[in-house]
Each structure stands twice: as structure tokens, then as C-alpha cells.
Symmetry: C2
């Protein structure tokens, strides 16, 4: 997705050889028109897959997920990292390692919103070590839903998440793949 | 907003006389088409106010906020309750009491995304005691931005947040106002 790549080039800040900061348009300040275009792109990729539900994780996954849901006209469910007072007793739960919090955190979805009838597209803003994705795939499995694939806005392909998911035979569509952040430079996958 | 009221009537669950569960379309599973209509409604209310930015708070505020931003074609900023590794050192910070966590939590926005040039519309899913709203109003004030008003999806008007904000002279537009949840019944403001 060329527009996204240009934005990453012009506004992305390399914090370290592991961390790219794109908080001016993706995960703190958000560009809603870009998010809609991202939603259109994921929707076109999965248009014929009979998707009934989009699954994402709070917080930064919500914007691209909701736009994908808007275009496909299907509900969006976001997995919770912390149980709200209204969650109730019946939920699927997985555990993922949070690199921000440096500890294992739970990931929860009410059993009312993922069922064996659902065909699920997972959408998230980043794919790095794949912990969030692994947790969401696990929730889909627990629910007995069919997983159509994962739509990722930015994959850091020098980390192992994408490889882990593809090795499981899962479909992963990343709009942009970053090969390296070494020496403060952003190297895209197709520029090797 | 009649459609929203009907959804609350048909799908809302009264957990207690303080808590209404609307997690099938607003804050766990989300109906993106409804969110778009909510965005159109807020956008039409503030169309002539010169809004340059939407401010919300993670996580459930993001969906209605991003749709409002999409219709008005302005960026959306969501305040963080937990500092991500990419936040940096320069941010506005307020403190709010979280009724879910039963403790005071911080609320942060990077100084890059709220400035004295901004005219801000705050959007959130619920207004109850007004803690989140008060924190966001404080962030807008710290930034020297102009606050145009607050767009709220559901106001529980038997709690004090709406009164507190209006007493400060702030413009508050709630799509639905709930007067009471007593005896397991949802009483809307215009049904008194």
C-alpha cells in the first residue's frame, strides 16, 4: 500500500532497531481517511471469504478493524486485556506476553460474540513477535470459529510473528512489511 | 437518536441501577454502520465549528470518535491510560478516577497532537460520573486548545458528569440520555 509506505517514510520515527514510532497517524493520533482506505483494502482481499466478524485487540487495532467492518458490513469484536464490569462470567480467555508491560496479560472475548458459525478476519495495527495475534488465533480456535486470515497494517518481518503464523498454515496479509530498522533506517521488504 | 434508543431497548442489559451493559453494539462487539451514523450525527452538530481534531480515550471511545473524524475529515487523538514505549517525554497528563480499577489512573496525550491552534471536539461512548470527560477537558486546557464541546453516545443523566460539565458552561451533546436504571428498567430522559 504505497500511501502507507510514504507516510511511514515521512512521519515514522525509528526509536531503536526494534521499535518504529508511527503515532502521528496510526496508534495515538489516527488518520481516519487512511484507516478507511486500509479497511477498503482488507475488505477487497477478503470480499469472497464469507467473513461474518472482524476480531481485533484494544486499543490500536480498533481503528483499522472498525473500518474493515464498515466496508464489509459485519460486526467488530475487540478482545479485552482487562475485564470490564460488564463482561460477565462466560468468556474465552488466552494469555499473551506484553512487551510494553513486560508480563503476561489475559486476552478475553465474551462467548456471546464468537461462535462456531463465525468466519473471522483478525485485523491489527502491528505484527511483531506475534503475541497478540497468537492470542487472538487461540480465541478463534476456542470458539470453534473459522479463521479466514489476518490483516496486518505494518509487519516487522525481522521479528518472528509473521513466520510463526505462516508456518501454521495461516493466511497473513500485511499492507507493509518492514525488513529492518537497523542504523535508524527503515528498510521495506521489497527494497532488499 | 431513535435507532440507538431502540438498540438500547432491545439489546441493553441492566446490570444494576448504575450499570447498563451495551456490549453487543458499542463497547465489546461494535456495530460499525451504527458508529458511522453516530459519526455523521456528531459531525452535523459541529459542522460549522471549525473542528480541527477529535479527542477521545481508549478503548471504547475510539469507534465513535474515528467515524466522527472520518466524516469531518480531521485527525482523531486517543488519550492513553498507559504510556506506550513510543510516547516520549513530552505529554500532557491528567488524572482520573477509574471506577473499574477503583483507583486513580493517568491520562496522557503527546504535546505534538494537541496545540493552541486546535479546535477540539471530545467524543466518548459513555458519560456517567464524568471522570474521563473531566480529564480530557483538562488535557485540552493544558494544551491551550479551544474546546468546541463534547459528543456523548449515552449519557446516564442520573449520575453527575453531565451536570458538572454543563455547570462549567461547556457544550455537551448526548445522543441518548438515560434518566434511571432502577428496578431493572431503562427510563429515557424524554419519557419522564
Amino acid at each position: 500500500m504505497e500511501k502507507l509506505k510514504q507516510l511511514i517514510r515521512s512521519e515514522g520515527i525509528v526509536i531503536s532497531d526494534q521499535i518504529l514510532k508511527v503515532d502521528s497517524f496510526l496508534n495515538h493520533q489516527i488518520d481516519p481517511v487512511l484507516m478507511y482506505e486500509i479497511g477498503e483494502t482488507f475488505a477487497s482481499m477478503y470480499r469472497d471469504q464469507g467473513i461474518t466478524k472482524i476480531l481485533t485487540i484494544e486499543s490500536s487495532g480498533i481503528a483499522p478493524a472498525i473500518m474493515t467492518g464498515l466496508v464489509l458490513k459485519v460486526p467488530v469484536v475487540f478482545a479485552r486485556k482487562q475485564a470490564p464490569t460488564t463482561l460477565g462470567q462466560a468468556f474465552f480467555q488466552s494469555e499473551i506476553f506484553s512487551y510494553t508491560k513486560k508480563k503476561t496479560v489475559p486476552l478475553m472475548v465474551s462467548t456471546r460474540f464468537l461462535t462456531s458459525q463465525d468466519v473471522v478476519l483478525i485485523v491489527d495495527d502491528f505484527l511483531a513477535n506475534g503475541e497478540a495475534a497468537r492470542g487472538m488465533v487461540d480465541l478463534v480456535k476456542q470458539a470453534g470459529s473459522t479463521l479466514a486470515g489476518l490483516g496486518i497494517v505494518i509487519e516487522k518481518s525481522f521479528q518472528l510473528g509473521g513466520k510463526m503464523l505462516r508456518n501454521k498454515g495461516l493466511r497473513v496479509d500485511s499492507l507493509v512489511r518492514i525488513e529492518s530498522l537497523e542504523n535508524g533506517e527503515i528498510l521495506f521488504h521489497d527494497e532488499e
